[in-house]
């Protein structure tokens, strides 16, 4: 027959401070882990979300990103004519030549950061299908008009629909705001590529983004791009391209795991202390229970349950605290800045992913089980006579 759960609850309440501190320690560890995991989660969400499955990124061979690549005008024209590229509603190939620039911009707080400006042609909006203009309208060519991502609107001085912002050699007019569903494009400014070329005194582009037709053979396309002797180019699937950008997120993820293991072990020691002390203090009771006829297994399960209850309380508290922290950072600070490979800054909103929640839960459960197991085992193994004698 099992020992009633009420017994455990009662005992936890009676040793109020010990229980509170023990659960509190677990809660803070869970919160710390989930908060850091939310940083990684936000990064991953941003980068993983970015990219269409049938888009390809053509850059100069060896360039790791848009910002450090140069593709001449002739190359972009040649790419446009390659077979296998999907066609837009107007019958034109979905090949978007883009020029990426990183000018300074001033933040609302007065800081100076590199912002990613992408010079594009209208076809870019057909190639990057996740973008939606949510306020205002698309820019007109050669008029110095820009559309800005929602991240830009939150962070930089004067970045509002209808206002004039300053970057590069001139002022630009914000005629629209776009949302890209949480991808890294949200931290970009899009302008007419001709305006950007003029501003940077460059001809040519950084790279070309292409949407392949469903029936096209990607390998053939890549081969054609890379074997053209006139230029040195390479083509990467857009999803893979952004996955590589997430490399730094992986480093952070190692940090998160390290934190989880290290602090989880620390909290585990705390839990062990609590449970061992509980067993020691209740040794006479255990003797009495056994004398009354409760089997060893019931004692084991009972103490294990108690430990898990503490862990559960810690999990709930910790998750709530983490959620509060994430909300605060996202709402009050508008997210966290992250230096991208493109030497520009993207704003990342923290996000508690299922993985992060799972990690927090795993820590709590591990602490509950491991913290309770040895003491519970010890309690179950007590000899009745010894236990009662200590009363």
């Amino acid at each position: 027959m099992p020992i009633p759960v009420a017994y455990n609850v009662r005992n936890l309440l009676v040793r109020r401070w010990t229980s509170a501190f023990s659960a509190g320690g677990i809660a803070l560890v869970v919160a710390a882990t989930m908060l850091l995991a939310a940083l990684v989660g936000g990064l991953q969400r941003m980068l993983v979300a970015t990219g269409e499955p049938d888009n390809w990124v053509v850059l100069r061979k060896g360039a790791t990103n848009d910002g450090s690549s140069q593709v001449p005008r002739e190359a972009a024209q040649a790419i446009r004519t390659l077979p296998g590229i999907a066609r837009g509603a107007d019958g034109q190939p979905l090949a978007s030549p883009e020029l990426v620039n990183q000018p300074f911009m001033v933040t609302r707080e007065g800081g100076r950061e590199n912002v990613l400006v992408r010079g594009v042609e209208p076809v870019a909006f057909a190639v990057h299908r996740s973008l939606r203009i949510v306020e205002g309208r698309m820019f007109q060519p050669k008029l110095g008009e820009v559309v800005i991502g929602t991240g830009i609107a939150r962070r930089y001085a004067g970045a509002r629909l209808g206002s004039s912002i300053e970057f590069g050699r001139r002022h630009w007019r914000v005629v629209g705001v776009f949302d890209s569903g949480g991808t890294s494009f949200d931290s970009e400014i899009w302008a007419d590529v001709a305006d950007v070329q003029d501003d940077t005194r460059r001809q040519g582009y950084s790279g070309v983004r292409v949407t392949l037709a469903p029936e096209a053979d990607p390998a053939a396309f890549v081969h054609r791009v890379e074997s053209d002797g006139r230029f040195t180019l390479e083509a990467t699937p857009e999803l893979a391209y952004y996955e590589e950008q997430a490399e730094s997120a992986n480093t952070l993820y190692v940090l998160v795991l390290t934190l989880a293991i290290v602090m989880g072990t620390g909290a585990l020691f705390g839990a062990l202390n609590t449970m061992y002390a509980a067993v020691a203090a209740r040794t006479p009771e255990i003797g009495t229970l056994r004398a009354l006829g409760f089997p060893r297994r019931a004692i084991l399960v009972s103490f294990l349950t108690e430990s898990l209850m503490l862990a559960a309380a810690g999990l709930v508290g910790g998750a709530a605290l983490a959620a509060l922290a994430v909300w605060s950072i996202n709402t009050l600070l508008a997210g966290v800045q992250f230096a991208m490979m493109t030497f520009s800054v993207a704003t990342v909103l923290l996000h508690i992913s299922p993985g992060g929640a799972l990690l927090g839960t795993t820590i709590a459960v591990a602490i509950g089980v491991l913290g309770g197991l040895a003491p519970a085992w010890h309690a179950a193994r007590l000899r009745v006579v010894d236990a009662l004698h200590r009363a």
Binding site: W17, T18, F21, S22, G25, I26, A27, L28, V29, A32, L35, L36, L39, R60, K61, G62, A63, T64, S68, Q70, P72, N101, Q102, P103, F104, G111, E113, N114, F167, G168, R169, D199, T200, T232, E247, S248, T251, L255, L259, V262, M263, T265, G266, A267, F269, G270, N273, T274, Y276, A277, I329, L333, G335, V336, Q337, F338, A339, M340, M341, F343
Partner: protein, 389 residues
């Protein structure tokens, strides 16, 4: 027998509990030390590059905007200028794209004028000037790729449509400046670009002022010189320039610090629990001590000393462990700075941080132990005695 011995013995009456608590504190302090390396790393870099006579001049619009090369000569004429050099980011890749490190085309003749504090030996500079495709490499990059002096290496251009082959003629000594950098002759790049449209621009200009007092005046002169021209410039001190890169890392560092803070909080609770448990079990003894005439203050001090010593042990273990493990990782190159985590990736721990870790541990012990100790010491003697019998 002394107070010290009594405190020490009491610490270990429950060896398992003492070990668990010590380990818990050690683990938390280990983490705290690792976390504290981040802002410290940035501060160190700023410190190291805090030359108070060097000025950076770049295009007002950003670092991706070229300045006309003619600007360099014009800047030389400003009074108070001791030396002028320039950087143009080549962005070449060695072997794999992952192997990103900063490489610049510079003026080989005035290296010593602008960076005398880098300590590059005169013979090395002479060699650099003499060899057209020679390059100087920072010690970190040398180690990373296992390069030797005299070796020839090829960097594939990304922004520039040329690949360049260099001969390594010397190493930039560690200590000041970016240890990953590679410098080569601007003329070499110009020549390579002749058939590809030429190269008449420069990325940024470096000026060394003769005296710190001249810096502001020189900066104002430079800005004024090019105002309303084709490319307006913004000059700033080297410190400000480097500092501006770190601005964007602040938010992330703050999140990580907050996480560290939460960990410290967790371990305070764990240590407080241990402390309270121990004191609760020792009510009879405290009663005896009080009946023997030990004043409340002495008992309070002894109990607080116990929790503080406990935490201190954990702190020493944790800080020591962090030092050892992080040091070993750094030596094995495991934490080599990735291209943009930059200095954050290297987690190099200094003795100051170890000290801070230990101090935090002490504070944990004090805070965690104080309330239980206070309650324990305040126990009225007769109450306690009655509880015994």
């Amino acid at each position: 027998m002394t107070w010290r011995r009594l405190v020490w013995r009491n610490l270990f009456r429950h060896p398992l509990r003492a070990i668990f608590t010590t380990l818990a504190v050690a683990l938390a302090i280990f983490l705290v030390c690792a976390v504290l390396t981040l802002p410290a790393a940035l501060a160190t870099i700023l410190e190291r590059s805090a030359s108070n006579v060097r000025i950076s001049v770049h295009h007002k619009a950003g670092l991706t905007y070229w300045l006309p090369f003619a600007y360099v000569a014009r800047v030389r004429n400003i009074p108070g200028v001791a030396g002028v050099n320039h950087f143009s980011w080549f962005g070449g890749i060695y072997d794999e794209p992952k192997n990103l490190f900063p490489n610049f085309a510079i003026d080989p003749d005035t290296v010593d004028d602008v960076w005398p504090d880098y300590g590059i030996p005169a013979e090395t500079l002479a060699r650099f000037r003499a060899v057209r495709n020679g390059c100087l490499v920072g010690n970190a990059t040398m180690e990373r790729f296992g390069w030797r002096i005299g070796q020839e290496i090829t960097l594939r251009g990304t922004i520039f449509p040329v690949n360049l082959t260099f001969r390594i003629v010397g190493v930039i000594p560690p200590g000041v400046g970016n240890p990953y950098v590679l410098w080569f002759h601007r003329k070499y790049l110009e020549e390579a670009m002749e058939e590809r449209g030429g190269f008449g621009n420069v990325g940024m200009i470096w000026i060394r002022a003769e005296r710190p007092e001249d810096v502001d005046r020189i900066m104002a002169s430079v800005d004024a010189l090019f105002r309303n021209s084709e490319a307006e410039v913004a000059s700033e001190t080297e410190k400000a320039f480097i500092g501006s890169f770190f601005g964007s890392m602040q938010a992330m560092i703050r999140v990580i610090l907050a996480v560290g803070f939460l960990c410290v909080g967790a371990v305070v609770l764990i240590a407080a629990n241990t402390s309270a448990m121990g004191i609760r079990e020792r009510v009879p003894e405290i009663a005896i001590m009080k009946s023997l005439g030990f004043p409340r203050r002495a008992i309070l001090l002894a109990l607080v000393a116990e929790s503080t010593t406990q935490a201190l042990l954990g702190g020493l273990l944790g800080a020591g462990g962090a030092w050892g493990i992080l040091g070993a990782l750094a030596a094995a190159g495991k934490t080599g700075a990735s291209a943009f985590l930059g200095p954050l990736g290297s987690f190099r721990m200094s003795p100051e941080i170890a000290g801070q870790g230990v101090l935090i541990a002490l504070a944990v012990g004090l805070v965690a132990g104080f309330v239980p100790a206070w309650n324990g010491a305040r126990l009225p003697v007769v109450e306690a005695l009655r509880k015994l019998f």
